[in-house]
Symmetry: none
């Protein structure tokens, strides 16, 4: 039985409140100098106290060994099987710039790239042009109509942009034009399903026109498209869990993911303190809060071990603001690991605290990767976090007679 | 999503190397005298040091409580779901004597047995005749043609032999003739699928002719056949993992299993030292090595606790040869447990070490069943060993956007 079907069957609405704090990329690897991870290096008296009162463990966002993208990692935390519910690359990028996708829209991730006279790709990133240059070039391509399909082109960062196709009869099952390597020509987009032939035709015409429009803009003299996808129709958290959920996230992509699962997305400042204040101000209006902290992941991606530890300390210092609200269930975890040593997402399992007055505490009194190994939650799939949080909030009824 | 489909999607070729050392039947049970298992009794400074630097845990070869055969246990270690990918008994036995099965061949496991004048089985193993006698009797039956089907009969050990049927229109879905008990007659082989009627007819004719040919060879005056099966068409490790894998195993069955999943099978001497030398000599030519050590299992099957401990010590002493090659990932484990106290395969989970410079070490610094309980890998299905090894060798890309 699917997790969500089970939850839909046994969840009940109640006044209890659940708080899910996600430090993006929380899990780390030990520094060769000290043998301690970022989390173990940070001074975290409040998190340690919460670990002492609660249950600890380690979660596998997707499955052991798998490096999760942000979308599957978050969907798993919200209880959605990341193998069943997929969000395409184009949609994720569009959400990342707060582009409002309408139901039939098809989004694709784009790269400005460089091609030589023979049309072969020589640089898939067009020398990483500036974001300003990207925005200027996007304006050249934005707003076209091809075969009755309106095309939106919006800059993301450096050479990256999104293309959104809006019109009738568009289906996303088409191949990429991005060959993912240099020395060969951009690929003709092919319909992988007969229904997607209009999409393939329009996309190929767009690319041909874009090449002409960009002819004099070397090194950004061509485009590569990939990850054609449509906003998926996900079951919503209100329908599945009977919750009134709200998201507090400063990065657009996470706000977009929260919207996909039916959360209200609250306006918030970007700092940790501002996010916590937003929660405090809205505390009476919702019974589930997803609070997303991006700084841990950004520092990890930058390879900045010390900064990642400091972001964790900043969350720890602000934590009493949340604790004073006395939520019935507090979960503190990450969506995946981003060890500074690897400068990117990794497969390592992620430490988690689950606190509730109804939890059966373990002996862990330190929030760290190594301490969590012996926690009472054990090592388990991230998709089980929501059922556990719901249970500890007394929001689940008995299963079976 | 199936493990292999996922790996096929996200695996990439890279120069890093993975070494999978399988001590067959490694897991044990404590001696009533000392309270220590075979592994805990052995003096293993090198394995303990590796455990200290790496991650430890316990694997369930098939699932908790299930006693695995060698084929499912190995397939699981290679990442193949043992419930989905099955290798029939006949095929396993044929591989065990290096019989080269062609694509359409059907193999069955055979027993010489004793029947009385009424045709009832009195001994399913014909008094465990010698292997020499078995070979002599196999020659009487080998090479027959029945209804255009060529029949090969080859000795295995004592009363055991294999029969391979080669011809057109043969399908393996037929019942066994072996009644698995004495006091009743060998069963008529029945087609369990209409397509398998030729196979059933030929097998029944073979058995009738064999009975005549063996009439004067009491106690081996009849044959019992079971486990009719065809060599399965498994996805290969090069296709799934983009690896160039090699197997070092002295027992034919394990070489056969390795061939089934597309490994190169290296010529090797049978001793542990010779196997390790084979690895060293071939180290530059492959990026994945499956090194199989049989002695642990044989000692366990013989109920020889001390010998099993000594084989483990021998592996430990030779280990520096492998460590000096500095593979990127080293996995040391077993395919299943074979406690000397049980004199056979058992369901007990199997200790595992996974070492890589990218592992997040735990506090286990002793390679033993009891220490592995608190290891950072936790307790997990053997099918996840390969995804973890691939991840730690940086051979997997991100899943999802």
């Amino acid at each position: 039985m699917d997790n969500l079907d089970l939850m839909r069957e046994i969840s009940v609405s109640s006044p209890t409140k659940i708080l899910l704090v996600v430090m993006d990329g929380l899990g780390g690897l030990p520094s060769p100098k000290t043998g301690k991870t970022e989390l173990e290096t940070a001074n975290t008296p409040n998190l340690d106290q919460l670990a002492g009162k609660g249950l600890c463990g380690l979660i596998d966002p997707v499955s052991p060994g798998i490096i999760p993208g942000s979308a599957p990692a978050h969907l798993a935390l919200f209880g959605y099987d990341p193998f069943r519910f997929k969000v395409g690359r184009g949609v994720v990028e569009a959400m990342g710039i707060d582009f409002e996708l309408k139901p039939g829209d098809i989004a694709a991730r784009g790269n400005f790239c460089t091609v030589d006279k023979a049309g072969l790709v020589t640089d898939r990133r067009a020398g990483r042009i500036s974001t300003e240059k990207c925005a200027e070039l996007c304006q050249l391509l934005d707003g076209w109509m091809i075969d009755g399909v309106k095309i939106f082109v919006s800059p993301v960062k450096e050479h990256r942009f999104i293309t959104v196709f809006r019109g009738k009869g568009l289906e996303p099952e088409v191949s990429d034009s991005d060959p993912q390597q240099v020395g060969i020509a951009p690929q003709t987009i092919i319909a992988l399903n007969p229904k997607a032939s209009v999409m393939a035709t329009v996309a190929n015409k767009f690319i041909a026109q874009a090449r002409k429009a960009l002819a004099n803009h070397h090194p950004a003299n061509m485009v590569l498209l990939r990850g054609f996808s449509r906003r998926p129709n996900l079951p919503t958290m209100p329908a599945v869990y009977k919750l009134k959920p709200a998201a507090i996230a400063s990065y657009p992509m996470y706000r977009g993911l929260a919207r996909l699962v039916g959360m209200a997305v609250l306006e918030t400042g970007a700092s940790i303190k501002e996010e916590f204040d937003t929660l405090k101000q809205n505390y009476n209006n919702y019974d589930f809060f997803f609070l997303h902290i991006k700084g841990t992941d950004s520092a990890g991606e930058d390879g900045d071990f010390e900064r990642k530890a400091r972001v964790i300390e900043e969350v720890d210092s602000a934590l009493p603001v949340l604790l004073r609200l006395e939520p019935d269930v507090i979960v503190v975890t990450g969506d995946h690991s981003t060890p500074a040593l690897l400068r990117g997402h990794s497969w390592h399992p992620v430490p988690i605290i689950l606190y509730s007055r109804w939890c059966r505490p373990d002996k862990v009194d330190r929030f760290s990767e190594s301490a969590c190994i012996s926690g009472g939650l054990g090592r388990f799939p991230a998709t089980q976090v929501m059922p556990l949080a719901m249970a500890h909030a007394l929001k689940l009824t008995k299963f079976g007679a």
